[in-house]
């Protein structure tokens, strides 16, 4: 039984729902771009993309602002990703490159194209995570991140294959220490438990041990004859377990024939992944992961039967398709269930969605592309803001990713507690009120002494009729909340902020029009307009409703 497609009306509420789950927030420009298209057209566009990113560049200096004081091997403004760090363990350079990578990633999300690429990259980062505190190697982390981005909508087996032997993962879960003489089960266990099958799905401890033996012999190189080189995966046949690997009845008593020679690792890894993918539980597991990220934390019995089952079937039917994940996601995002009231608006935003969504919604200004240094400083500030809100990219709490995507029964509500709630609130206020300023001693002259702050007037000018306080409040409510807001609350907002406590709408209209006609007006009331808008929107940011999407 295939999944039931959505056939109801596809108006603004449905479009906003789809875009909020597929992009980081939904801006007025996003909405305008897609309005008038059919659901299928929108989802097709959301799934049409390539990894056309350009790598991060060196825009950092040492703490005194000296561009030659750190990582001088890379010319200022050129990328560092192809230059090995010499010496290998120069943590000062690793540190600045990791920051550069973090800022770059943030810039990709905030400046995202109107497609699923960055949201899917984050999904895979949560599903196949590594932690910066352990890997702490900028080139490895960059490469792994790009691997996730390039493979994010492709073939699942291919992605797992590539991640399994990527240096970042070989290091993170001890794959490089997994040798015939002394198997290290760490990666094999998480491959089953967290990446492909799920804890308790039926595999045995002996299966974990057998899989560890299949995976013996992989390692990576970061140095060649004492000279640092770019991270590179290697398979070392003498460290591979040559004997046959017997699996339990859960895997149909599969025996993976022991191999020797240079292709042994690749051959057995492929056999292992084929064996895993042949288990129906694998397809259900990964479909549940997609569901929890894009649709809803808890999976009801109904959703299990009507959504997960059919999606898993589709996943299995397309097991060799190069766009397997896109096929499954397309079916999910165009399904009747995805648009049902049972899940709409019923998810707590993860902190990255919360912050990046707001940076996009309010169009936080960014420096021109040529000003790499200013751009880096702004991006890095935004990265810190997401970390403060409770989700430090590259630093999930552990190999299971963030608990909001696996811990029953609270799931996404785990983003919120009495410690994180005030920090999330402050982040939302920082987007509206805060500014990022660059220092005066930048390397690039043009990057010095700049200040970037949301243009609140430009933001409200995109709305239908900002001079009308009723229309302004209604438009803002529509953009900011999914839960209904009563007329009584809207009235209170209007009186309290836009009308200065007065009753007549004309006070706002006159002040706003005077300000728009002349932003340097001497009209004292009109001069207040940008501040009033910040106070209003700042207050609207504090509502509990702001955390849902």
């Amino acid at each position: 039984m295939p999944i039931t497609p959505y056939t109801g009306p596809f108006g603004r509420p449905e479009l906003q729902h789809l875009l909020r789950r597929s992009l980081f927030g939904c801006t007025t420009a996003d909405r305008a771009h897609f309005e008038g298209m059919s659901l299928d057209q929108v989802v097709n566009e959301l799934l049409t993309f390539t990894n056309d990113t350009t790598p991060p560049v060196r825009a950092y200096t040492d703490e005194n602002g000296d561009p030659n004081g750190i990582d001088a091997a890379v010319p200022f403004g050129s990328t560092w990703v192809d230059t090995p760090i010499t010496p290998l363990n120069d943590t000062d350079v690793i540190e600045v490159r990791i920051r550069s990578f973090a800022a770059w990633w943030m810039g990709l999300m905030r400046g995202q194209q109107r497609n699923l690429r960055e949201k899917l990259t984050l999904f895979w980062h949560n599903h196949l995570p590594t932690q910066v505190s352990i890997v702490y190697q900028s080139e490895m982390q960059y490469r792994q991140n790009q691997l996730l981005r390039s493979g994010c909508k492709g073939n699942f087996k291919q992605l797992i294959h590539d991640v399994s032997v990527e240096p970042a993962m070989l290091f993170y879960l001890n794959g490089y220490l997994n040798v015939a003489a002394a198997p290290d089960e760490n990666y094999a266990r998480e491959l089953f438990e967290l990446f492909t099958l799920g804890q308790g799905s039926g595999y045995t401890e002996a299966d974990v041990q057998a899989a560890a033996r299949v995976l013996t012999g992989w390692t990576f190189m970061v140095e060649n004859g004492g000279t640092p080189v770019l991270p590179q995966t290697l398979f070392f046949p003498p460290n591979h377990t040559a004997s046959d690997k017997q699996f339990s009845a859960f895997f149909n008593n599969t025996v993976i024939q022991g191999q020797t020679g240079p292709d042994a690792g690749e051959t057995e890894l492929n056999a292992l992944l084929d064996m895993i993918l042949a288990v129906p539980e694998c397809s259900r597991f990964i479909c549940r992961e997609l569901y929890r990220f894009f649709v809803h934390g808890e999976i009801s019995a109904e959703a299990e039967a009507e959504v997960i089952g059919p999606l898993a079937q589709l996943f299995r039917e397309n097991v060799d398709a190069p766009d397997q994940i896109a096929i499954v996601l397309r079916a999910l995002l165009t399904s009747d269930h995805f648009f049902s009231n049972a899940i709409r608006g019923c998810m707590v935003k993860n902190p990255v969605d919360l912050v990046v969504g707001d940076l996009r919604l309010f169009d936080f200004p960014i420096p021109d592309p040529g000003l790499v240094e200013a751009r880096y400083l702004v991006d890095l500030e935004h990265y810190w803001l997401t970390a403060y809100a409770g989700m430090n990219l590259m630093a999930p709490p552990n190999v299971a990713g963030w608990p909001a995507y696996y811990l029953y029964p609270s799931y996404d509500e785990l983003w919120l507690d009495t410690a994180t709630y005030p920090q999330r609130n402050n982040s939302l206020l920082a987007v509206v009120y805060g500014s990022v300023e660059t220092p005066s001693n930048t390397v690039q002259p043009g990057s010095a002494d700049l200040a970037f702050r949301v243009d609140i007037i430009a933001f409200v000018q995109q709305l239908s009729d900002p001079a009308d306080p009723n229309a302004l409040i209604t438009d803002l409510v529509d953009l900011l909340y999914v839960n209904p807001i009563s007329d009584a609350v809207k009235l209170q907002l209007k009186h309290f902020y836009l009308l200065f406590g007065q009753v007549s709408d004309i006070y706002w209209t006159e002040a706003y029009e005077a300000y728009i006609a002349d932003p340097n007006t001497t009209n004292m009331t009109a001069q207040l307009v940008p501040d009033i808008l910040r106070w209003l929107i700042g207050d609207m940011q504090k509502a509990a409703e702001r955390h849902l999407y």
Binding site: R189, G345, P409, P422, N483, P484
Partner: protein, 526 residues
């Protein structure tokens, strides 16, 4: 103060050195909130799975350990001795906890685990936090159930004048499953007591819609309200004047992080919060590789972690002593599992099962409960340590002897009956102490004949009367036979056990009779 709690904790209390028994004394009712109502449990969670064999080191089995775990072995002459206890010592970095032992403020419970242990970090953590059986998923934490049992109306109407403070506080990091009860978070969490936790002038009061997004909105609003309401009392407690011990360590990142958490705890207790449970944590115990420094096994990752833990517990205890709070506070450590007996080639250890737990404070009954772990002679890389005590028996002890719950309430928190252990001093609880178990330690309560055996063996056991349980585990720690579990009259009995359908190899027979328990190694051969 509610009467139910008063009745529960009334029994024998000590006032000025004089025991006062009975209820109805006006003196008692004036003092009632210095009894169980005032007691604090500090839980220190060690994420990653702590290597118990390198923490509490069985030097009596040193020659076996030398061959089985040469990659991580601590030199015997470096093991810290525990006064009055031969054959067992502490990791060389644990001087702080050695001091506590010498001061009579440390109890060690050996071989803590549960039947059919799970080797996954996340599932095993969940089991310890919820108190679930291996094959059971619980939607509430054990502390969450305790607090819900104690404060059944929470969170409706909270805080109130009787209970103005958070019931539980998780310091650093989010609230985990341990404090949840049926989707309600029974605790609050704080990262920093200087955070302004304010929520004022909220005008978004539209009723939540009767659907999924309305339910979520209600949940968020609950946290929003807690944030505001408890912010005030937390701030007040944090800003009261309390001076701290100078002993808190500053020599490593992990030590400083734990010190900050524990200082917040002692500050809030000293500042007057009536919060019952504080939950703090350390991570990094998942030492598959580089657990020790290859050149010197007494230093390295695990040594740093144990030093941070041990120095901090010592400092925290000193802090409480200076503040005059020692008798009101006890602590407990746990990890999601111990580690494997054998080391691996990367100077580390893989996931194991049984682990030692520490209880500390002036009111614990000092000593070691249980025996050194049994190291089977034919240990392989798959062999795990046998369980001696169920972790829920430790929880039951805390509930009975620290929070003074009656057995029926303990059962409803832990969902089954687990025999409490005598590890905590509790006025009003008719308890024998660890010494009774120690006195029995040399007595053979359980034996097997024949052993080795082919199909059947006969277990002979002695019970002092009361609940008596006899189990057989395989070397993975899986329960393969519940031979019997019932209330018995004192005496010596025999029972025939047929393991004809089981594989050859190592098995453990385990007897538990109250605090007394013994484990015997069985070997099944062809």
């Amino acid at each position: 103060m509610n009467r139910r709690n008063f009745i529960r904790s009334a029994g024998t209390v000590t006032i000025g050195g004089m025991a006062v028994r009975g209820m109805g004394s006006p003196l008692l009712s004036a003092l009632n909130n210095t009894i169980a109502e005032d007691r604090v449990l500090v839980i220190i969670q060690l994420f990653g799975g702590n290597d118990g064999l390198n923490t509490v080191i069985p030097t009596s089995a040193y020659s076996q350990l030398s061959s089985l775990r040469s990659q991580v072995l601590i030199p015997q002459n470096q093991v810290l001795p525990l006064s009055g206890l031969s054959g067992t010592g502490l990791h060389p970095s644990m001087t702080g906890m050695q001091t506590l032992w010498n001061e009579g403020k440390l109890a060690i419970v050996q071989g803590v685990s549960y039947p059919d242990p799970n080797f996954s970090h996340f599932r095993a953590t969940d089991i310890y936090e919820t108190g679930a059986n291996s094959d059971q998923i619980l939607y509430s934490g054990w502390v969450g159930r305790y607090l819900s049992n104690e404060y059944p109306n929470y969170p409706v109407g909270y805080p109130n004048t009787d209970v103005p403070d958070p019931l539980a506080i998780r310091v650093g990091g989010g609230v985990g499953g341990g404090l949840m009860n049926m989707g309600v978070n029974m605790g609050v969490s704080i990262n920093n007591t200087n955070d302004p936790l304010n929520l004022t002038g909220n005008i978004y009061v539209d009723p939540a819609t009767p659907d999924c997004k309305g339910d979520k909105l209600s949940a968020i609003r609950t946290i929003q309200r807690q944030t505001d309401l408890y912010g005030n009392v937390i701030e007040a407690a944090a800003s009261s004047t309390c001076s701290h011990s100078p002993l808190y360590p500053t020599n490593s990142t992990e030590a400083i992080r734990l010190a900050q958490s524990l200082k917040i705890v002692s500050q809030l207790i000293c500042g007057g919060l009536k919060t019952r449970i504080y939950w703090v944590s350390m991570s990094g115990f998942d030492t598959h590789a580089s657990q020790v420094n290859p050149g010197d096994h007494t230093i390295g990752t695990h040594a740093n972690l144990l030093k941070a833990l041990s120095d901090n517990i010592r400092a925290f205890q000193h802090d409480l002593q200076l503040m005059g709070l020692e008798d009101r506070v006890m602590g407990m450590t746990f990890s999601e599992f111990g580690r494997r007996i054998t080391s691996n080639a990367s100077y580390g250890t893989d996931h194991g099962s049984a682990q030692p737990m520490f209880l500390f404070g002036s009111q614990v009954l000092p000593g070691m409960l249980g025996t050194n772990p049994v190291i089977p002679t034919n240990t392989t890389s798959a062999t795990n340590l046998a369980m001696q005590y169920d972790f829920r028996s430790v929880y039951a002890s805390v509930l009975r002897d620290w929070f003074c719950l009656p057995q029926s309430a303990i059962d409803s928190v832990l969902l089954e009956t687990y025999q409490p252990l005598n590890v905590i001093n509790s006025a009003g609880c008719l308890s024998t102490d660890i010494r009774e178990a120690n006195q029995q330690a040399g007595v053979e309560l359980l034996s097997a004949y024949p052993n080795p055996f082919v199909e059947r063996t006969t277990l002979e056991y002695t019970t002092l009367g009361g609940p008596t349980m006899l189990q057989v585990f395989n070397e993975q720690g899986q329960l393969v036979r519940m031979v019997m579990n019932k209330v018995m009259a004192a005496g010596t009995y025999k029972v025939d056990v047929d393991l004809g359908d089981m594989h050859t190899g190592v098995y453990y027979a385990r007897l538990q009779n109250g605090t007394n328990q013994q484990v015997r190694n069985l070997l099944k051969v062809r």
